[in-house]
């Protein structure tokens, strides 16, 4: 079973317009999970958003692993019904192997994330 690591991240829930205005970073991974939600992973820290009602959650429940492109391709082809986007880097999410996954795909590797309640099953299904 591949070792799964914890990926602490910041979830920002705000208005679509304000999230659209966030400057992305070249070092942090920024995933737009919904029109009103964004995940910020890595450094620098997430920028401050000018929304007093925004929900900023430091979420410690995501776990996952980096797969090489080769391993990722094999896993996706065996387990994913939908076609992944082809640009890089790119964020994608949906059901893979019966699990709700978030994918961050770079030219040479892919990050697979699930929330902790799914972690054990992800471990089994990555084999």
């Amino acid at each position: 079973m591949p070792k799964l690591d914890r990926f602490p991240l910041t979830r920002i829930v705000s208005t679509p317009a304000l999230l659209d205005g966030i400057q992305t970073s070249t070092t942090a991974i920024v995933m737009r999970t919904a029109p009103d939600e964004l995940f910020w992973l890595g450094s620098p820290a997430a920028p401050v958003i000018n929304d007093p009602h925004a929900i900023i959650e430091h979420d410690t429940s995501f776990v996952g692993t980096w797969l090489s492109t080769q391993a990722a391709t094999a896993w996706v082809s065996a387990n994913c019904e939908w076609q992944l986007p082809t640009t890089r880097p790119v964020f994608a999410q949906g059901e893979v192997a019966g699990l709700p996954v978030k994918l961050w795909i770079e030219p040479r590797r892919m990050l697979v994330l699930v929330q902790q309640p799914f972690a054990a099953d992800l471990g089994e299904r990555l084999q």
Partner: protein, 732 residues
Amino acid sequence: MTESSQPLKLIIDGQPVPFVKGDSVLVAMLRNQHHPTGGGCLCLGGDCPHCLATIDGVAYVRTCQVPARPGCVVACTHHAHAVPALPQTHHVEPTTNARHQHADVVVIGQGKSGLAAAELARTAGQTVVTLDAAQGQDVIGIYPGAQVVARTTQGMLIVHVRQEIIVATGAAELHPVALGNSLAGLMTARAAQQLQAAGLSLGRIVVINDANRLVRFEGESNVTAVVVRDDQGLEQHVGCDTAVIDLGTTPRNMLHRMAAGLPGVRVSVVGDAATNSDVPNCPAHGLVCHCSQVGVADLQSVWDRGFHELELVKRASLAGTGTCQGGVCLPYVRSFLANKGGTLQPAFTARPLARPITMGEVAAGGHHHVTLRTPLDGVHRAAHAHMERAGGWWRPWNYGDWQAEYWAVREAVSIMDVSTLGKMLISGPDALTLLDRLYPTKVSTIKTGMSRYVLLLDEKGYVLDDGLISKISDTRYTLTFTSGGATTAELWVRDWAESWGLNVRILNQTMSLGAINVTGPLAKELLARAGLEKPPEFLSHVEAHVAGIPCRIFRLSFTGELSYELHHAAVNAPVLWRTLLDLGKSLNIRPHGLEALLKLRLEKGHIIVGQDTDFDSTPRRIHHEWAVKLDKPDFVGKHAVLRTNKVSLDKILCGLSMEGPPPIEGANLTVDGNYAGYVTSATWSPILGKTVMLAWLKLSNDLAPDRVMIDGRPAQRTETPFYDKEGARAKA
């Protein structure tokens, strides 16, 4: 030893027999004078049912499609149309896997027209997947999506098609329908060619190329003569060892019929598969459907008794319901019906599977529905907890001794993993408006720092869920829902927020927060040891550190004892759990599971939505009118509640108690021998020394009986809570 010195052998009905490299199992069998089924016109094209056998434990395998392998075990379980036994155990098989592929165009069949179609599509810049039975790629079905699913030598392949499905499956040869057509020694022209090419001797050959002249085949088990009609109409016996059937072809268009009309994709058919399906002459004698052993006389019989529609004829005569799904017989059945009724009826519905494959193969790539695990799952398992599935989660049922767990709550202190609770954060200028419209309580009267137990109703006024609303600020609230209710609740809240166009931010925190309930008379003492100096008052909440971990602490009680619910980042759950257990050692702490909790809450008369409520539970029926404020301007379910309140009350959820052990949950209530409802929850109460229950009780003449019988024993209606009626312990 070299390959050439050791003859290749497979096992047929227990006997090793040699074969030649390149043989299919069928060719190997024929080479050794074995006919898999004992007769019928062989096609060697995967269309007919005459070469079926059991290979390596799998029955109904077309031996003509399986390459012979050394040691492969063949059993002639279909000989003389026998029905194979169900396997007792499953054969160990190579792991099958499934893969997905995406393409603009799928071409099924790689004969001349299929090759051309694929080439054309490629030239047009389209991505093309080709599937060819001759290369071990059997298309088993075409599905909405559109998906083309095939069994390949590398496992199952699911191709997701964007633009076009091209069916180029060619044509199958027509089989003969005449007396004696189930004898051995019959084969189609293509089959004969293949067998000759494989070096088999076919003996004396008669070629049948005119169905009008064919009268019958003669022989005991193998054909010895063909009887044909000559130009003068006289019957001629022609002795032979092999009758080669060359009666023309019928398009293999099953996949085209299956795919036709699929939304979102073009479906076309090319080559021989596209030829007009002219039907052969109406048969007079002989077997029409070999899979189900249906003769012309059987068709006549059902026709004579009023079965005229093709679909009815199929179901009554069973023609077309076997392994080949009408591949051989359909042209003849249509011909028969056209001859009787004067019109040619369209072919019957083509359903998957186009080719049988095993359930093991179909199951490839499948997964069980996930049962969720809390951040403390590993901790519970390490403590040898008995884990159970409940509400979609793995939860500790007990840690080996529910009674000790129960008493720890009632007399000392205990902790429980309640991370499964649905948890949601709502923020925004319209947060209050949203919640006030969603919930039947007056959310506006909840003060900052306070919480309230609430019901959630659907539009029909029935209880959907229950939970807690806690106010953090004028524009920020947290909500909780039942375990297992979180996903539905999130959809519910988001749907309403969107349809009302409200300015709110919503975050489902169910999985990102862990939650631990600290409960028991010594709960406060334990938290003091963990550094919590100012715990919240009853029904309030604070943010504070417990054992150094930031928590939001809610003060409510499901067990009836002094309780604090600690919500914290999921990652901190194990440390917090272990620290609390360490600090509580001298307080005789022990964690409790669901089994103890179900008893504790029942002593308090607390309902569990879904167990004690049903689809039609109105607040009035469950005695929760106090949770519904009908003088509010509006809330989801209000109109339904007003309407149902006008109807007489027919049943209530009420408390019951009785001496002796508890009945099963679900036991019937009777009054004067008549059914009067049923028990939803029942337990022996250790602290009260009697059985306490919740039950649905029918009213008669608007009155609820005070006494009922359960399994022949009397039970008494009892006000809830059964234990600590004033709630002094929880509010301590």
